[in-house]
């Protein structure tokens, strides 16, 4: 959580126990290099200290794209997949306005702004997810425990 990882095939990126957080995967299918962020909250507040790390969706996506291009990935080839953004507890207001929904909306908005195609998403609901991304095949697998 609050992490950014970058790797190349044949590695597999993985994060477990994703609730209202959102996982954003950005991938260059040609170099087969990709990265994953597991962000907790939608946007970095103006009052946040500089070391917000990868807690926020907005700053994490920007950092992820920057780092990927640094490895030789090309911006026009980048594609994205997102997962998570569940609404785990009904006590925290209704699902449409919860942190999970805000995280998903922010991720979609940022990817659109950056001109990166969102090829798949597995988001929302009220169930936790574990996410694996195989950099060799570009396949993202999601595990849930009902």
């Amino acid at each position: 959580m609050g992490e950014l990882k970058i790797a190349s095939a044949p590695e597999v990126l993985e994060t477990v126990g994703v609730g209202s957080c959102v996982v954003v995967i950005i991938y260059d299918p040609v170099t087969r290099t990709g990265g994953m962020v597991h962000a907790i909250l939608p946007s970095k507040p103006a009052t946040a200290s500089d070391d917000g790390g990868f807690r926020y969706v907005d700053t994490s996506i920007t950092a992820l794209i920057h780092d990927l291009i640094g490895t030789g990935a090309r911006r026009d080839r980048l594609v994205a997949k997102i997962a998570g953004g569940a609404h785990m507890f009904s006590l925290f207001g209704d699902a449409e306005h919860g942190i999970g929904a805000q995280n998903i909306a922010k991720a979609r908005e940022l990817l659109h702004e950056q001109g990166i195609t969102l090829t798949a998403e597995e988001t929302g609901g009220s169930v936790g997810r574990s996410v694996r991304f195989d950099l060799a095949s570009g396949i993202c697998s999601i595990e849930t425990h009902m």
Binding site: E3, G17, G19, I40, R55, M88, F89, L91, S130, H145
Partner: protein, 201 residues
């Protein structure tokens, strides 16, 4: 806001959490008619994303009862059982056995959470001379990481740090265990710290 936790302040908070957890354990003991042991509290003021050090394996399946703490120092209380322990406690309370948690079992667990939160918050309020009010309980069974981080994100909305306190409890006779977590944002932490300093003459 910035809060720093002095060794003395930390001791005072741990004592407060110990009193709350002690009363919760006592309530659980009365409900189950079994002896309930509790550990000394573990307490840290940490960055929101560093909380995984508390969650154990994030993909372990846990049953959680969540109660929002309202009043003088808002926060979140979580009661977390491994699924097996949740089943054992639910069986004991419902006096029947089956392999999955039914809606009635979940209601029983929510009620356990309700009673434990009530006794815990009342004793904490009496000790600190503060008013704590509890919300209705919410129950969920899922991966520990998904549950805890979702509760934390609510606190993370307004703060970068969180006070997290963890107490383990064990019912040896039933071979069941669980954890009680308290999560408070820095401003609630400061209010509780202020209340503890007033107790020292």
């Amino acid at each position: 806001m910035e809060v720093t936790l002095s060794p003395l302040g930390k001791d005072a908070l741990m004592e407060a959490m110990n009193i709350g957890a002690g009363h919760a354990a006592n309530a659980l003991s009365q409900m189950t008619d079994m002896k309930v042991d509790i550990s000394t509290p573990r307490l840290e003021l940490i960055r929101v994303e560093a909380v995984s050090v508390f969650t154990g394996k994030p993909d372990d399946i846990m049953s959680v009862v969540l109660v929002q703490v309202l009043g003088d120092a808002p926060g979140v209380m979580l009661l977390m059982f491994p699924r097996e322990s949740a089943l054992k406690i639910a069986y004991l309370l419902m006096r029947k056995e089956h392999a999955l948690l039914t809606e009635i079992d979940r209601a029983a667990l929510r009620e356990v959470g309700n009673v434990l939160a009530g006794s815990c918050l009342t004793s904490l309020g009496n000790f600190l001379k503060m008013s704590f009010i509890q919300s209705v309980p919410n129950a969920a069974t899922d991966m520990a990481g998904a549950l805890i981080t979702s509760a934390l994100a609510e606190i993370g909305k307004s703060s970068e740090k969180v006070l997290i306190s963890e107490v383990n409890f064990m019912i040896k006779e039933l071979d069941a265990d669980g954890k009680i977590f308290f999560l408070f944002d820095p401003s609630s932490t400061q209010k509780i710290l202020d209340a503890t300093t007033k107790l020292i003459p």
